[in-house]
Subunit: 384 residues, 2 copies
């Protein structure tokens, strides 16, 4: 179940010839309404791809009729010509589906700094427009993949007859050379663009924003939420926000689980923090520590590297009162050795590192992966 799980949406995907492999690489999602309210969250990188700049403007009035997405080229760092190409993608899609270009969002993913072959892109848009169907959500999810080994979709149905569905690609290690996360969520609930915006921002803040596979931030990250209102139901805001959060969390976990080159899924759980911000800061510092990520790859419960990473932050804690558990074994108590590290079993794919800052009641979870020779290989060999 995907972007067409909600009523009022069409989708399709085709192979436009943007990828050398000949795999599908262009997708459309069209909102039939009656509402076309929308919200979006974009990369916080100051170097932003042309499609991100375009889509920000499209989203400004809270209304989106469709999205054109391509893999096989990021259209990032492509100068004024790249900006023109993003506009042409919107215009061509708008003509094909009969709406205004200012109502078409554009998402691209692939190598940075390389212009898109626009003749293939426009031909692909025409072919995709002809295939648009309420049955082809999976086709769209397949076409936005880069090095993802599987396509990623999720759906949650609300208690009042509405549905939130979505598709995602990418994230850090998943995407050598591109590192882009693209997500399109759809709903047939009748929600204003302000309501969509608030539900989406809160969901992204605690899901996609807390996936940190390699600390690298893309030029193209985009998360869109489109509402058709086709169910005719205006949901209870809390129930709707919960559904959007559940779909985002499901997709975020799928991104971490499919991180190519990774052999471990690592959950860094920070508790006892003085503030949620402290918990996120500490979690991110630990999740980005290459030495720890190597140790966990080697199934070494090296809690000293956890402490080293915590110590680089300005969070509230006393170095002599830090507790750390790895897979539930408190190997560090009061900033020194605790239970025997021999008790820690790291053979499985999932690892939980729990850090108790013992300075308050706030907490946060950051999801990451281990650092492997395969990650190095994929990211050194991809574009050469």
């Amino acid at each position: 179940m995907t972007v067409t799980a909600a009523q009022g949406f069409l989708a399709s995907g085709v192979a436009a010839g943007l990828k050398e492999s000949g795999d599908p690489d262009l997708a459309l999602v069209v909102n039939l309404g009656p509402s076309r309210a929308a919200a979006g969250v974009f990369t916080s990188n100051r170097v932003q791809a042309a499609p991100v700049r375009w889509s920000r403007r499209v989203l400004a009035d809270g209304r989106v009729c469709g999205v054109v997405l391509n893999s096989g080229g990021a259209n990032a760092c492509t100068g004024p010509a790249g900006a023109a190409d993003a506009r042409v993608m919107a215009e061509h899609t708008a003509r094909a589906v009969g709406v205004d270009p200012d109502e078409i969002a554009v998402c691209s993913t692939g190598l940075i700094g390389v212009p898109l072959p626009m003749d293939r892109v426009t031909a692909g848009i025409d072919a995709a427009a002809e295939r648009l169907s309420p049955e082809r959500g999976v086709e769209a999810a397949v076409a936005i993949r880069t090095t993802d080994s599987v396509h990623k979709t999720a759906v949650v149905s609300g208690p009042e007859g509405w549905t939130v569905g979505g598709m995602a690609k990418g994230a850090g290690m998943l995407a050598p050379g591109l590192a882009t996360m693209l997500v399109v969520l759809t709903t047939d609930a009748d929600v204003t663009s302000a309501g969509l915006d608030s539900a989406l921002r809160e969901a992204v803040r605690t899901t996609f924003d807390r996936v940190d596979s390699d600390g690298c931030m893309s030029t193209n990250d985009t998360v869109l939420l489109l509402a058709s209102g086709a169910s005719g139901v205006t949901p209870v805001p809390d129930a709707f926000a919960e559904a959007v959060h559940a779909v985002c969390l499901d997709l975020a976990r799928q991104l971490v689980a499919d991180a190519e080159g990774a052999s471990k899924e690592i959950e860094v759980e920070v508790v006892g923090a003085a503030s949620e911000e402290d918990a996120v800061t500490v979690g991110r510092s630990v999740a980005r520590n290459n030495l720890l990520k190597c140790a966990l790859h080697g199934e070494d419960p090296n809690w000293g590297r956890v402490l080293s990473a915590i110590g680089t932050t300005s969070a509230v804690f006393d170095p002599d009162r830090l507790d750390v558990a790895i897979n539930g074994v408190w190997v560090c108590r009061d900033g020194a050795a605790g239970e025997s590290r021999d008790k820690v079993d790291l053979a499985g794919r999932r690892i939980t590192v729990t850090i108790d800052l013992r300075s308050g009641a706030e907490s946060a979870v950051i999801w990451t992966n281990d650092l492997t020779a395969e990650y190095v290989h994929e990211n050194s060999a991809y574009s050469s």
Copy 2:
């Protein structure tokens, strides 16, 4: 030439049995005076090893008569027992060389969280004290190595008959599981502790602080500068500061050159910055970008990853006016493709990435290494 290049210093190194390999692992440096002025710079990590906490107190009065250093164990995250062990090391050394324990600095490097075998440490101190000699500086430099493939020493003679010498070990990739940099500098110039402090801080700020092999910060980093005054010469402050800087730079470059697991030495040069802080921030962000470090390992001049890393900072720049050169070829102009990437030759070991922010006249250089499968291997296999 090393810590005994300057007059008034003795040194030695022995195998105390702290390393399983049986390699040398304990060193002494003794200052015979007449002056014993000293200055120190320590890790900014808030999780600090017991010897760092001890040495900070020793340095507080600007006077140090000797340093005891060991590899084979960091004595970090070892609780109150570790603090007692650091004190015993100082006391035992003080007795052996006939000074006060409060005048002995302690430096340790090795695995975190494991207590030192103190019987071996004290026996090693006795053995090292018996060997103390103005000829054994190299012995000391050899004994502080962990995974360093060579020992590192440097010396600069001032124009007025005084000398600054030093030894170093470690840094990031060099030191799987420990990641510690220890440096002892000596001089026979007659300089007050305040003069030493100001020369050392300025030198460290633009040398060791700008080596960033893997973004990981140690619990044990220590840089000490001891003056004997034995030359009888009070140097011109600028000439002295320049000599200290030159020795630090020489040692810092040796650390990067010997980074195990690395195949490239990368110099990230940021020019055209609005402030030196901006230049350092941008350089560090680029130097820590795993995707770029993998690309350069694969000899791929992937300037898009440079731009992505710049974009994550809050430095002053316009994304559409960024220029990037790799080994002198301006592959990115105005935030988009510039000269052909095919012109870039990355076959050599040294790579320079130049970033022109075009926003001012300030600059900085950060030194780093590439990210390799060997790095992952060393850091996942070391302690398991």
